[in-house]
Symmetry: C3
Subunit: 419 residues, 3 copies
């Protein structure tokens, strides 16, 4: 394994600065997710969502650095050599590779969190973080990307079939989305979300969420731009495609929302932009700019469409993770099959089928593994907070913290009742 | 046009990384404007301002990429070749140039938004975004900067006369400021801003605005630092000047505020810093550090001075866009004439006159075009929300969203009335 | 002095871009401190903390640029040559050096602010900023780092003894921490913090603080990563160590908090992460990754430990600056002595003693100078706001600003009393 990083150690100057910049931008993605979720949950859970993102990020990055990365990229069995290399060699290219990919793994974990907000225990979320970082993400990642370091890496099955997923439309976003769906089904919907005692769940601060979208957008430039781990002549195209698909998502969601409601609904427009960004992740380096525009414009309609569908199915997707990451991830991966330049006498149908195979495998494996493992764990150690904890809010229940605003609201209600 | 980008395609390594970094920083400017405006408007409009900035950014960037850039830099008539190049060639230098300049255009649009907050329809604002991106900004931009790509570009009249505007003190800030002034006059002041039924308009969150100022400052490093589209030995000087003028603006506004009110008034100090940053935009690469200090220190007094003047004239400039972008932009452009190194036997008077000509042309063209077009549009499709929409707030009226805080305030008022 | 920068002027391309990127990241640290403090103070002081950080940053950067840097790095007596060089030469390497170190100085000033929040006058805080920027920071900085430019620089006493402080565990964090302790003792605790009329001091927005921690983390990548002022093959290791120590701090604080309270207390976890980040600052380039993990894991227990200790001593450390910056800074500096590779026949004991000497000198000089000067100033011009100002809050008292939220709280209380 140690030798395998040798090629990376030759990265120099500009390559190194660019990749380090992308690593910094990836951290803004964590910030973006936190702002986005803080704004969309109720006041009584807003501290909790940042805390769990922060702790999940740390645990995921640590575990992936020491275990996940070997499972995902390593010649299995070289754990000892690998750990020795991490501890004692400090090879620059290797460290850059590890940092980038461990933050990518942490991104997958963080995006899951949005689907189970306001009702899952911290312990439950950290369990998901651990399962994802050492098992679900690296195992599927190996199937798809395992040959990124060693072209003859065993078990890099999808990669060997020419399954193409540039920066992780499937590996990061769909896999995360499937785990999110499984976790959401296992813990069940929030109290009062569906049924007869249904009450509106009001976001605490949409401006904060919108700011989160901008931060995610900034982070996405590093997410896509850094995925080559080199600065290449394709890098500007990757960023340009990222911009185009994001703005196409915003504009198409905006037009759809205006047409339907004569209003530009905030959550649809914001999620539309994120759907656009996800949609281009799978092929940002091979898309022509107009592909990115089309990818984004179509993805922009997912949030409003799927939101009502999920409502009917009584799946409580928290802040709308599934349309953004799962559906757009599938769409982006599929589009890659439709437009990827074919080599030799490869057929278009074949390319599309391979992409479908990857999409399907991700679904079966990630959803299956997450659903069965979480159900099992849930039986012995419940993932969900007790009812009283959910009512009082996770700020107080899990972290012993309240907000001035929340106290005020409670005071108000008390006053109103006393009347 | 395609050939014209050939020189840019040679950008390599460090140049590319630096310019891409500056593009990322420019996006922080969008974030900064949003935070700044969110904090300064009332609770009932805070979601609206982020939403409109986000949608305006997307529309502006899209339109400038496909139309504005040809109007601004292209040999007119080569639209076909240009579009072909965008769609199919993916030339790195070209894409970097397009991204940087389209975000610059979107910055111009976003800065306008601050002047018309809390009363303009989303449709009205997007109309301004469209007019600015495909007409006002690129047409004036061509006069001043049209020879940046082709030295013999027709109609680059001011550029040919050696009008100097490094990163856009006039092209971006003054032009944006003039459009903002025109738009503000066309839509009129907010209800209760002036006259006998005057009520204080209270910012919802000044800490958020102050954070926005820091973000704008960070963005400005990319705005000025990237305007050469290359990394040069002048780059550190440009950043140093940007820092010095910003801090001189803060310090001079702080001293003035303390002298006048024995308090350091938040809005004066924040706007003072922004005035300082604008003032150095026109000549960040040719200023000596002490020019930047003087530019910023003088600009720092504009906010408090012009605020009271505008109050007297009953011009409702929303969050104080005119002193920051228009007045400081003019001051910065003028200062360039006073200190720019003269070539050959050019005279100082001449240099100053050319700068004045540019300032004057920007005023006549940008204000004239914006005022007449917006007045015309306003007659047929009102730009302003109906009175009820303004009273209830644009969060609810335009986006169907409310905030927990706003509801609480309303509840409070209701309680207070019931007594 | 001018010649001394010659070596730096050879920095090219990647070195320059990397260092400029780190300078941008350092500004995010300012943003992070502001968000962090805004969230932890009470609503009535939240505007004040951002304002004072902003003004302190500007004054500190200006003063360090013109005076501090000569005191810290220059051959004393060359002030004239140095100022000439700043004003007229615009040497790129010199400007980069000045920008990086002046922002480092401003960081030291900003970290002090957290200890004296909610009770110190703006004038008092700016006095600390001035004293620190032109005296305390550069004088100790000269002892430790004065030979960074000239190896034979007089008075670079600790540096000559091989005292090692990579990015400022002592020079920045401990020195700042000592000044913070001194200032906290001189102004005394907040009203109602201790004693019989003790009332809980409730943070206004913990989500904002958590976001601040992420921003600080991002800034730390520039803080540590840029401290070589070059891009080297050690740069990735530096960032990797920074990540590892931060996450180890979060995880150890989380486990400790959960063990003690069955809850992951927000402030402990956040401060634990910051402690981890500080702990690795002194040796990010010489630590093996496991040193960084250990450094962070141990530092993560400081916040909860020292908080209760300080409560007993009735020292009001505002938002918890001392454990984070002072204690972790000392711990990190000490650890450097324990693990730094020894050259020739140097002994381990000797290396540890030298580190202790540096830690001790910083304590005696920074605390002594700050305590005596601030006590003296306090006698003639009180640093603390009058009682009425503290009760009404510094937003109103010092800046004439209120927040909608605060007014609401006051309205509520009034109602409750009437009620």
């Amino acid at each position: 394994m140690i030798e395998s990083f040798a090629q990376l150690s030759e990265i120099q100057g500009s390559h190194l600065v660019w990749t380090l910049l992308c690593i910094c931008l990836l951290i803004f993605m964590q910030l973006g997710f936190s702002c986005y979720e803080v704004g969309l949950v109720r006041e009584k859970n807003n501290i909790h969502v940042v805390m769990k993102n922060c702790m999940g990020f740390c645990i995921s990055m640590l575990l992936f650095t020491f275990f996940g990365i070997v499972i995902m990229f390593g010649p299995l069995g070289s754990m000892g050599a690998y750990l020795h290399s991490i501890w004692f060699e400090n090879e620059p290219g290797e460290l850059v590779f590890i940092m980038f990919h461990s933050i990518l793994c942490a991104t997958t974990v963080t995006l899951i969190s949005g689907a189970v907000v306001e009702r899952m225990r911290v312990r439950g979320y950290l369990t998901i973080a651990i399962l994802t970082s050492v098992f679900i993400y690296p195992v599927f990642g190996r199937l798809a990307w395992g040959d990124k370091l060693f072209s003859d890496n065993p078990y890099a099955w999808l990669g060997a079939l020419n399954f193409y997923d540039f920066a992780g439309a499937t590996v990061v976003h769909s896999v995360g989305g499937w785990v999110a769906l499984a976790a959401s089904l296992v813990v069940g919907p929030r109290l009062g979300r569906f049924g007869t005692d249904r009450q509106p769940i009001r976001p605490s601060s949409l401006p904060m969420s919108s700011i989160g979208v901008f931060l995610l957008w900034i982070g996405w430039l590093g997410f896509n731009g850094g995925s080559q781990l080199f600065l290449t002549s394709t890098t500007p195209l990757i960023l340009f495609n990222t911009f185009l698909s994001g703005l196409a998502g915003v504009i198409s969601a905006m037009l759809l929302s205006y047409r339907r409601y004569q209003q530009t609904r905030v959550i649809h427009v914001m999620n539309g932009g994120l759907c656009g960004l996800v949609a281009t992740t799978g092929g940002a380096d091979i898309f022509m700019p107009w592909h990115a525009l089309v990818a984004g414009a179509i993805a922009g309609v997912f949030p409003s469409t799927f939101q009502s569908w999920f409502k009917k199915l009584e799946i409580d997707d928290g802040i709308g993770v599934i349309p953004v990451h799962l559906v757009s991830g599938i769409w982006g991966t599929l589009l890659v099959g439709m437009v990827i330049p074919l080599e030799g006498d490869a057929s278009r149908i074949n390319a599309i089928c391979i992409q479908c195979l990857g999409i399907f495998t991700a679904g079966v494996f990630a959803f299956g593994a997450a659903y069965s493992l979480l159900s099992l764990i849930n039986r012995y150690r419940p993932l969900r907070v007790p009812k009283s904890g959910e009512v009082i809010g996770l700020n107080v229940w899990a972290h012993g913290s309240s907000t001035a605003m929340l106290d005020l609201i409670n005071q108000m209600s008390a006053q109103a009742e006393l009347g």
